[in-house]
Symmetry: D3
Subunit: 246 residues, 6 copies
């Protein structure tokens, strides 16, 4: 399949590491492209940035929807996923949902380890929106920013491994989900410290997209993700206006 | 207080009726302005449109954040509310959250009556995100579109009243929340048919904004709604770039 | 509006501070009266006292139901609120429900800080009864009794601020609800220590009552809060017998 | 054991049928007394009446707490149970809680069949307060009043059996709980129609009280049901004042 | 009644202590027999062992179903209970469900104290399956194995009491459930340290079985526990083949 | 990968259709084998049969655990999955869990359509155990038995399609999960009638197993699925005794 991995964070180094994780774990007959939207925040750490990135992601899917067989949204806030599912019926997979659902097959409960405190309530909402409260042991945050992951990977890995250890020791976690698209290359370091499976969302997203594509399963168009209603989009970009039509 | 009511649906007739409902129910010392963002869909019925409207709403709050004491987001999907709360600490109130919380003081459970089927799962997510599942008896939909409300208010009122009656008779609803910003002027018609309190979100939003302002309660900045982190917003509008700075 | 604030704790000093908080935060066109029932415990810290206070509160509303436009029940156990709603259709607002719902507009989750340990399970039930489990980060208790709040406000403020700090640091609270009607005057002290919004239930109760009154929203009479059925009340007070009739 | 069954509804015919059900199902070494409080409503169908009955029940337990080994509160709203548990450490069992917990051993889910519509939200709260939402298939109401049960038992049995059949056929109920203390003598009639176990709360309450007494299990005094704090009860009855002291 | 207590752990010393607890707490007219299945693990600490024990327990009930009036499954994982309920309509009571439901009458919330860590997620599932999440404060584990309980009861009692104390002090527990059938004889030791009611599942199981038998309440056969469908059981034991027929 | 699909129902025709569905949807580099345990019920429709099948499935995994890279348990009750995960760290996937998790990527909520009524409570437990209550719209049953699926596929397809249509029209389902391993070949028939994605558990199970294997994700051994403790298994089969050792 031809799979487009979109990094809503407009930072090339992060897109590079996402692409590396995706390619390492893709099937041999999957072709992966990774890119960022044409605009948006360097990194996504709050709702303001996520709201910009969500629209930018929708525009990116709109531009490429005919060229690819599926889409992975590589930010652990799953920005724009619901909207993207309306403008295509091909698989659109958020890495947070993918990581959490995959984690459910690996242990009794998972914890998410992530960047700064403001990410915690954000991810609590995400867990609830996916209906997975009962399987989420905790969301542990650190002092890291998203861009620290690339700037100082050693420290990042150490801090995340420490958070993961506490999740396993104190919260009942049996699996760790990495709570940011830029953490994938740290997975082995964390796993070796904490001794439980570590799920990178990018990897999980690729595998879920491949699975759905291979099983010919497409997004339901009966309600939540029906094609957009026909209407005027006042002063919106041509991309969005085209996207609104099937 | 000076209160800005933002209608994320870019339809003037709807903005007019929203303003009328807001003014009718505001305190005498509240000054209400109502407007739509500079761009966006004529009406919001799905995630695609909501994603556009969310960013347009954030930009609108960004432009006006120093001129007003509080903001009501007049679309029953509460688009952009979380993001707006990051760029100001003044009250930012979504009408869905406002209607649902106010309804809890009026009866044991509320139902939402709304437009077409695709709105139902959307609002289920909203109920869950607000943590009010236990108080929501049902979400009943009709065949109406958002713009039908203005185009044929008689039919709209009749269909919504019928949905409301079923919610009361079969689902255990004791209060009805009107599930669209454009339904306010139908409240008396529906109330007279169904015999239980009918809560318009615009009214509820104005009252909650006034309440918080009067009590000098401002948005918590400790985590979920902290001011945006400092970073580059690539190719974003000057409005957004300014908004990112406190 | 004419608003009656009932302090179910029969302690005048507490009623005085409740009145002060209510008046400070009321709209200019709201007239506030505060009083205690004619009988009942000096303070309410358990179910036994709450059961007495609930009936005393109902009798108090019964006596005054024609003289006022709304009622605030100023005890963080919301004693008798459901019963009072049956004997009037004007707003009857419990301060616990009011504080918790208002807190939902200010941050992602709230914690309650309260008096002695026995209050904790009591308030857990209250949170559940209001269906707000998902928004309540924790209920933190101290060694204080209700009457300690007035006897030694400095210590009370310090202990509550400490509990609030732990709620923010460890439990994910972004807003603090003061878990007793007698804590209002400590709000600034606590807010200055903990750095997040602090919601006093009396203030919240007054604002919600004003909001509903202004929006002409009255209690639903379709089921949970229908007028009492006609029947004999054996050896009950004349007040109660009259209250049973609309 | 010596067991006191308190009927908070002050109707002798109902107390008689409660006593009959209790005695039929008690162990041979259990002595049952049944009585009503000295005051209160003839029947309990709403919160107003329940609030009166709760205090009357507490006074009744207070008067008799030294003469009996356990107490069953025979009203399906469990009025005053929490308060009664504070003034004794002997078992105090509400028939609603008893019926629901016992039903859990008999089938996958239970439904409650009860009197008029206003009882439904009341019992929904009760189910939630007992934490049994996941085991309650539905609460089905009829047009009956509490006193209709005695006045026209044939119709009552027929209407309740019909409600029970619908609960089994449509809601997934496998067990039926009778949602009023006065329904016990109808159990066989309903069971023969509906073909699933029918649990009378009075019977369940007696069995649970016997079970706890026999196992020497007493109410925990560490928090929720600790002995009342020492304090003045202003203008309360001598019975209540004595009750407040262990 | 004639009650069969089945210890799915094939360790005679454990069966002996279970029998002692059961007899101590049974009514005078209850005759208790205790035995283990003919095969199975010495102790049950995980799902693998539980799966073996479940089938062994079913076979044991199958063999004895006509000789007894009820069955208690004395392992805190309730192995095979649902299956056993299909092949008889007499009470089949798992000690975990019995302990948890009884605990609900004794305090606001219970905690379970149990053996090694792997038991914790197992029991979390059990709590959820019984729908009692809201009443379970925590599940605290120790370093003990099941067989340590008999081998070194002093240490076991001390470690469990310590876990129980933490549950009461930190988790809000008001009642302790002993999370293994072999802990019953430690109940007094733990209760004296922790000061709250301690519920042994064997005792609770016996009391619930007696209660249901006395009230002539039998398992519902309408769905979840209907008699097995008629069909071939390939290469299964004669006991199982006979069990499949009513 | 070498994947073993185990059909716990000992019916060859069903195993054949399972194998066909598995092979149709497997990646080209996956080798699928399908077989039934050496003993067990012809079909699984209740807990009694499921308990037998669970142990038979564990023995089957035990025998083959070194020859395969992963295991799919092809019965929509997921019998023995937890136990199997203890005796290997390779993926062990139950088809119910796989279908439900995959369905979450395709629509807002899924419904399960299944055989006779007794399957409904069984599957409700399964949904809860997987923590997916919020995503499950309903479980609709028919009059079919498991073996009817093969005996009269036309009727089976028609009845299941009818149940699926009701789930979509009345319950809010957007995706249909086929609630039995023997329904796979009916997927197209049902999809064409109901117009939403139809997920066969066998297909989902194969895709999830492939995904985890490809991503080198293995079962967590820290608690719930740790290797069995060392102990005597009295009179158990040599297969089980060997299985207990890593």
């Amino acid at each position: 399949m031809k799979l487009l991995v979109i990094n809503p964070n407009t930072t090339q180094a992060m897109t590079d590491s996402i692409l590396e994780m995706a390619r390492r774990n893709a099937h041999s007959n999957t072709t992966i492209t990774a890119l960022s939207p044409e605009y948006g925040p360097r990194s996504i750490e709050g709702h303001f940035e996520e709201t910009i990135a969500a629209l930018a992601t929708v525009e990116t899917v709109a531009i490429h929807r005919d060229q690819y067989d599926g889409f992975v949204i590589a930010c652990f806030g799953d920005p724009g996923v619901a909207a993207c599912r309306e403008i295509t019926d091909k698989p659109v997979i958020g890495i947070a949902a993918a990581a959490m659902h995959m984690a459910c097959f690996l242990g009794h409960k998972f914890s998410i380890v992530t960047v700064m405190r403001r990410a915690q309530p954000f991810m609590e909402d995400l867990v609830r929106q996916n209906g997975l409260e009962a399987k989420c042991a905790s969301i542990r945050y650190t002092d890291l920013s998203v861009l620290d992951l690339d700037a100082d990977p050693r420290r990042a890995g150490r801090d995340l491994a420490e958070a993961a250890k506490q999740a396993v020791a104190q919260d009942g976690a049996e699996v760790i989900c990495l709570g940011c698209a830029g953490m994938g290359l740290l997975d082995e370091q964390i796993r070796s410290v904490v001794g439980v499976p570590v799920v990178d969302g990018v990897v999980a997203g690729v595998k879920v997209a491949e699975a759905l594509h291979s099983a010919r399963l497409r997004t339901s168009k009966v309600a939540a993700y029906a094609w957009p209603e026909s209407k005027e989009l006042v002063r919106c970009s041509p991309t969005l206006i085209r996207a609104a039509h099937r």
